[in-house]
Structures are given as C-alpha cells and as structure tokens.
C-alpha cells in the first residue's frame, strides 16, 4: 500500500490549514462508554471534533467506529438494548441531558449512511422531505431548496429533467448523492458519514470524495471509512479506533506519516485489519 505517497500532496494543503490557530470545537466527547446488552462496544472515548474540518474515523471492522458516529446524533438509541455513560457535548451542550431534544439535534446534524437509503418516493419528494417535515410549506421555497441541495450534492445536472421519477431508478452512486442532497436540504451544521462509499463503484466513490472536499467549506464533516487511502485523501484529522478504544487521534498527515502508537503503525501498513 502506498498510503504515505498518496497522502503526500494532500498533506501540503492540510499542513497549511492546521498551521492556523486551532479552530472551534463542534463536538466534545468525554469519557464515553457504550454497551450493547452486556458487550461493551466503546471504552472511555475522549475526542474533540473541530468545526469546518473533515474528521476521518478509521479502524478494522467491529472496532466501534460506526457505533461512535451513530452516538453523535443519538441514532444508536434505535437499538433497544443499548446503554451509555459519559457525555457528548455538541455546540457546548450535553446531548444526553434529559431535556435535550433529539429531533433538534438531528436537524442540526445530518447523516449519510453506508448503503444509500432513499425513500420510495420521487427524487423531488426525497429532497424536500426534511424541509416539509420541519414546517416549510411554500412551494417556491421548497423548489429553491431542492435545486440548491441537488446542486450542492453535484446531482442537479443529472436529474433536473426527471425530478418526479422514483428515486429507486437512480444508480447506486446517484442514490447516495441524493441522500447527501436530502441531508443538505435541512441546512445542517454537521454531516456525519458512515462509510458512504463502501457500497459504490470507484467512479462514484471519487465523485463523493470530491463532494466532501467542496462541502467542508460550509459544513463540519465526520466520516467513517475502512479505506485508509480515502481517509488520507480527504480528511484533516484522523482517529484510529481499535476494539472500541481511540488508539490515536491526530492531524491526518501526522498520523499516517509518523504514528505514535505501534498498533496504528501496524494497521496503516497493512499488518492487520
């Protein structure tokens, strides 16, 4: 694997950015533990996620990276047997406070899933689902939102003439970009991506990666990936998870070039995982 070589030219860009003063923190995770039934999936996670950056989370399958990202918008609670302690602060507020509205959190934090999951509705209805749910009824505004979101997801040109067709007719890569558009439509601050390209072909994957680069101007992005090159290509910071623990969390360039931990080195050089 030529991870180091791959990340070299990206690293120049990244290095410049990280030279600037540490940006605002959007998520602060403190002593976070999580169990599924009696199996502990996350151990004492400690992590600050910066605003307007791309943060990648890597690690072998079953290391807890998906669980972690789903805890950030409390999607993990949909699993009935889940238990947690510790805290996650979003924008300075503890999202597990009893009074905290999970609907509010998820309005500010969008999510893109591993497999594209459009609703069985038209392309247009998919995009305006969120705004409609949140009370926007004006047809003109909805049309504007649909156009802007689809453009934002680099899908507009491909679908502008068939907005009323069923979303299931799109290709896998198009469906995934539709899901990104759907997520952009409610104008979130953060976008969580859970292995968004693992079900896609290489060309669709590169389109999504380009998209992530554009999106980070306006959004904070956390992306789970099992593809190390991808993490190296697109992220500013990277966290390496192993068996539910954060082994190492650092600026991407640093983590891939000079890992502090032996286990990180073993993983990125392909010795396991």
């Amino acid at each position: 694997m030529n991870t180091a070589a791959d990340s070299k030219h990206v690293s120049i860009v990244n290095a410049k950015k990280s030279d600037q003063a540490e940006t605002k923190t959007i998520y602060s995770v403190q002593n976070f533990n999580l169990w599924y039934g009696n199996n502990q999936a996350l151990y004492d996670v400690q992590m600050d996620i910066p605003a307007n950056k791309v943060t990648a989370i890597i690690g072998p399958s079953g290391c807890g990276k998906s669980t972690f990202i789903k805890a950030l918008n409390r999607m993990v609670e949909l699993v009935p047997s889940v238990r947690m302690n510790g805290s996650i602060y979003y924008d300075g507020k503890d999202i597990f406070r009893p009074k905290y509205k999970v609907e509010d959190l998820r309005t500010r934090v969008g999510m893109v899933f591993q497999n594209p999951n459009p609703f069985p509705k038209s392309i247009y209805e998919n995009v305006v689902y969120g705004p409609k749910t949140h009370g926007i009824k004006n047809k003109k505004v909805l049309n504007e939102i649909a156009k802007k979101s689809l453009k934002g997801a680099a899908l507009w040109d491909e679908v502008k003439d068939r907005l009323q067709e069923n979303a299931f007719g799109l290709s896998g890569g198009q469906q995934q970009r539709l899901c990104i558009a759907r997520c952009l439509a409610i104008e979130p601050d953060v976008i969580l991506m859970d292995e968004p390209t693992s079900a896609l072909d290489p060309i669709s994957t590169s389109k999504i990666e380009e998209l992530v680069q554009t999106l980070k101007k306006d959004y904070s992005i956390a992306i789970v990936t099992h593809n190390m090159q991808q993490a190296a290509r697109i992220s500013d910071k990277t966290a390496f998870f192993l068996n539910g623990e954060v082994v190492e969390y650092n600026i991407t360039d640093k983590l891939f070039s000079y890992p502090d931990d032996k286990r990180t080195e073993d993983y990125i050089t392909g010795r396991f995982g």
Partner: protein, 308 residues
Amino acid sequence: MVVNVRNMMKNKKSNEFLLRFLEKAAPAFFLLCAVISILTTIGIVLTLVVETITFFNRVPFMEFITGTKWWPFGKNASYGILPLISGTLLITVVAMMVAIPVGLASAIYLSEFASFRVRKVVKPILEVLAGIPTIVYGFFALTFVTPMLQVVISDLPIFNALSPGIVVGIMIIPMIASLSEDAMSSVPSTIREGAFAMGSTRLEVALKVVVPAALSGIIASFVLGVSRAIGETMIVSVAAGSTPKLTTDVTDSIQTMTGYIVQVTLGDASYGSTTYYSIYAVGMTLFVFTLLMNLLSQFISRRFKEDY
C-alpha cells in the same frame, strides 16, 4: 462374523417391484389430492350456476338485480336483491369504520412504537381474538353490544345494523392489524434511519415514510377485510334481524345476503320452490362480490409491490 452390507442390500432388492410401483403411484396420488381443490372450486361454481339458472327461469334477471323489494314468501313474492345488498354494504361500512382505524393504528403501534415486550403480549392476544368463533361474537353483539348501544340510542331496536356492524369490525381488526403490520415490518429499517437522521419524530417516520412505503400491503389488507365483512354470516344472522330493507339508516333492522341464506335453510322452504332456488342466486351474488374483492386484494399487493 463379517456383515456384508452390499449383499444384504442386494437381497432386499427382491421387493423392487413394490418400490417401483410406489415411486409411480405416489405422485399420482398427490396429484389427485391437488386436483380435489380444483374440483371443489368447480363444484362451487357449478352448484351456484346450475341452481341460479333454475331460479332465473322463474324470476326475470332484471327484476332480481334492479328490484327494490325482497319478499320471497307467499303469493306476492318479490325478488329484488338490492335490499339484501344494501344491508350487506351497511354492515360492511360500519365494520370497516371500526376495523380500519383501530386495525391500522394497532399495526402502526406494534410495528413502529411498541417495545419488544409489549409486542410479545399484544400479538398473541390479537391471535386469540382472531380465533374466537363467529357465533360467540354474534352472541356478544346481541346480548352485550346492542343493550349498551340502547343506553345511548334509546329507540334502537333489538335487531339493527349498527351492533353487528361494530362487532364484525372487531372481528376483522386482528386481520387488518397483522397484515398491515407485516407490510410495514417489511419496509427496510435503513429507510427509517434515513428519516430519523433528519430529525423526524417516530410519528413522522411512521406516517410519512413507513405507511406510504407499505401502502399496497395495507390497502390489500383493507380490501380483504371488506371481503370478510361481506361474507360474515353468524354475527349478522344473530343480531341484524331478518327484515330486508333498502336503507342507509344503521339503526334499522336489516338483512344481509348471508343472513338470508341461513334464514331460508333454517326454515321449511320446500325443496324445489322458488324460495329454495333463490338462496343460490343470492349465494352466487355473494360469491361474485367476495371473489372480486379477493382478486382485487391480490392484484393490489402484487401490482404495487415495492422492491426495496
């Protein structure tokens, strides 16, 4: 002693003839069984058609389907089926007004809201409700629901369309609930997650995403429910009365197609009389109605099936 399996098997082959016979006879026998189900259908259709033709030799077809008076007894007999159809539809409408909201709401609760433990209690109870004989429901309608309704509607007669209609609805709830729930459960959870992740409440996920996605299955269950209500016999025989009436008033005593058939077979309508043949004409009408509903239900669930 050495056991020679090969030789033993060879000796056993002596009854090969029997084996070969069974190998041929078995499929023939099973095919015969399968053919019986077809013969049953043919039997039903032939019975209805032949006896209905006899009936129409005595009563003009047009009088039957357009007549507004059903009075199959005595000299001035009149065979207009519309009152029986209106009675049947009245029961069906009342029943569906109970069964659709309650059944669908139960299905939504069980599929989208209920914890595993609640589901484990409620679902078997729905199964029990579905297994109660209809005569017991009929008894319940006559001796409990009607007196209860009479407290609210003081001039409600003992026999009326409302009470059996409600009870037929109760009887159908488990069917609509379980079929609709099946349809909703087969909507993949990734689609739900997509909606949750955008800040939807459970209610919005259920009503805006899951129900529309499962709509074909849900509608099919309603149609099947209609078919069951049309064909339901004992509840209406016991509690709806036996006065065929072309009415839309649910507090009236009415008669359904099924109720009429039972009434005639209970009475002493002599074999060969026009009254006797009239039950086949009514049965034929009933059969056509329910068959159309069943076919429609199958068509909806097949034609509009979502492939996720």
